[in-house]
């Protein structure tokens, strides 16, 4: 038991969905628990093992001064830091504040914004520390999480594709919805989800963030030809992964 690698699961600003993904690995969870020691995972346990930890999974983005400090500490005390989810890898949906005035935002929501301690921006951990592995997705894929844990435990390279959602769409033989007339972000979005949206006759909305070398300009042009407005393009690129550079730059091309 003592020899098992320790894993700590940290929450930053997030919806908890990515860490829930771990508990959602119903078939694998007990097996995983046999291979690792959970050192810190408040969503699941009161127990705690002090650092250093072999692996830290970090969920959520950095939105407060405390969080900006905490991630540095975690980095120092962790062998590997794996950022999980759109919040941790791109700032998440809450990064929409990065285009707005946070004070104004706070006053819309809270009667006493002065009680809040919050940063102007919501940023991914890679803006603050070195990250060993990023799993994109809002939320991350269960299969990728299990694979990444196994890979880390066995010194294997995690099977994280950097290619487009289209690869998975084609492998599952879904007729392309974009060609059938529904705008789809799949060609610029990183695979991993299994191409869920097109299989439900819906265009991908980019929740896995940009793929490598995403040609957003060309896709946006095609969307316009298909009738998308500039506003629609701006919003499409500025959602869950809107602060990731490739999407950020593309949304800027459509105003705002």
């Amino acid at each position: 038991m003592a020899d098992l690698p320790t894993i700590a699961i940290w929450k930053f600003s997030s919806c908890d969905g990515c860490q829930l993904t771990l508990l959602d690995c119903e078939d694998e969870l007990l097996g995983i628990l046999g291979r690792v020691q959970i050192a810190y995972f408040p969503e699941a346990t009161r127990a705690e093992i002090e650092g250093p930890w072999d692996v830290s999974l970090v969920e959520g983005s950095v939105t407060t001064p405390e969080e900006a400090e905490r991630i540095k500490e975690i980095r120092e005390k962790s062998g590997l830091v794996v950022a999980i989810g759109a919040c941790a890898t791109a700032g998440g949906i809450q990064a929409l504040r990065n285009w707005a005035n946070v004070k104004e935002f706070a006053s819309i929501v809270y009667a006493h914004p002065e009680y809040l301690e919050t940063l102007e921006t919501s940023t991914p951990h890679s803006d603050h520390i070195d990250i060993d592995l990023e799993l994109q997705g809002c939320p991350i894929s269960k299969a990728q999480l299990v694979d990444a844990l196994l890979a880390v435990l066995s010194g294997r390279r995690p099977n994280v594709p950097t290619s487009a959602v289209c690869v998975e769409c084609k492998r599952r033989q879904t007729p392309c919805v974009q060609v059938l007339g529904t705008p789809c972000l799949g060609p610029v979005t990183q695979a991993g989800c299994g191409a869920i949206c097109p299989s439900f006759a819906r265009g991908c909305y980019g929740c896995f963030g940009p793929k490598e070398t995403p040609n957003t300009v060309s896709l946006a042009k095609r969307w316009s030809e298909m009738g998308a407005s500039e506003d629609q393009l701006l919003r499409a690129f500025r959602t869950f992964n809107g602060y990731k550079p490739a999407f950020r730059e593309e949304s800027a091309r459509h105003g705002g």
């Binding site: 929450k11 997030s14 508990l23 007990l30 809450q94 946070v102 104004e104 299989s199």
Partner: protein
Amino acid sequence: MADETRTIKTDYLARVEGEGGMLIRLKGNAIEEVKLNIFEPPRFFEAFLRGRYFTEAPDITARICGICPVAYQTAAINSMESICGVKVEDQIRQLRRLLYCGEWIESHALHIYMLHAPDFLGYPSAIEIAKDAPEVVETALRLKKIGNHIMTVVGGREIHPINVKVGGFYKAPSKAELEAMVPDLEWALETSLETVKWANTLDFPDFEMDYEFAALDAGGVYPIEGGERFVSNRGLDIPIDEFYEHVVEEHVKHANALQGHLKERGSFLVGPLARYALWYDLLSDEARGAAEGVGLGKVVKNPFKSIIVRSVELVEACVEALRIIREYEQPAEPAIEVKPKAGAACGASEAPRGTLCHRYEIDANGIILDATITPPTAQNQPQIEADLRGFVGQFMDLPNEELTLRCEQAIRNYDPCISCATHFLTLEIERG
């Protein structure tokens, strides 16, 4: 001893969703302070929803909470459909209810066995339970999985489903796809019935509170995916559109969340205990039978027994899921087209943790002008603090460590969802 100051404190509450802590200060036998600290950072959903397109609300608000995304999606949809004046056909509504049953099954199973049970069984977590009694955890995981599977088949995936939209679904599942889940659900139903019995064997402190129970009125069915009115056992009975005329919220210093009160009477309670107390008669025969079988009574005032009530609701969700699948006919069109209309309306649904209310105002182009979201935990927060006061008052003699544990348990009774609690708003209320 008399004037000694004691502090009962948990910096970071475990096995709840989101980031919160608890602080209780006693001076002698007097309670000086009870605080449920919520330091979950604010994410400003209501603010950045402004300017987004109305059809985006379900996808965006799902991200408020990874544990009950369907609750958010459904409340948002209910609100938008109400603004735009559309009513979906019953088949679509049933499909939504089925999806929601999936979320209830997943969330309740998770809470009962993995978040709440460790308190009763004396373990720090289900991980340790798994070492001594793996079958308990295996049961939990299998139940959870069945709930998740419903969400995957109907919604596309379990966390942040993608198939839900204003007006219906992107694609309706075939009857065969749903029927394939029946054997699993039958197992889940059996297991939930056992769960009720098992939960009833746990040890409960002798503690009751006199709650004002509030929940949606779904017009003759147990409230899950929506309801036109918001009612309580003390006479509250309002159309959901008047929610914010009665529920006021306050921003207190120790919480990045706003606390909800009933304007008329102060704290109130939403969630399984409330739904159960108000709508006991609408439960299925199986669920009611299970409650009767363990002598639960029509109203449960001991919050620690919420684990039994949650188990009864687990039964209810399985029964409902099976019923819907049995009666399902794939709709000709998975959705109706919804054109934006300027206006404002509230929409609500019964999250596993209680009533969740959204209110939006949109313009004629479908752009969101204003958004207000009040999750159940925010409504319950004053009540949680009230429970703690009551509980500490009664069990003051326990040693610190045990008292802390018990207080934590008292909080976990509510299955609080702190990530949710940090988003809701006030603007209108202050004006109102």
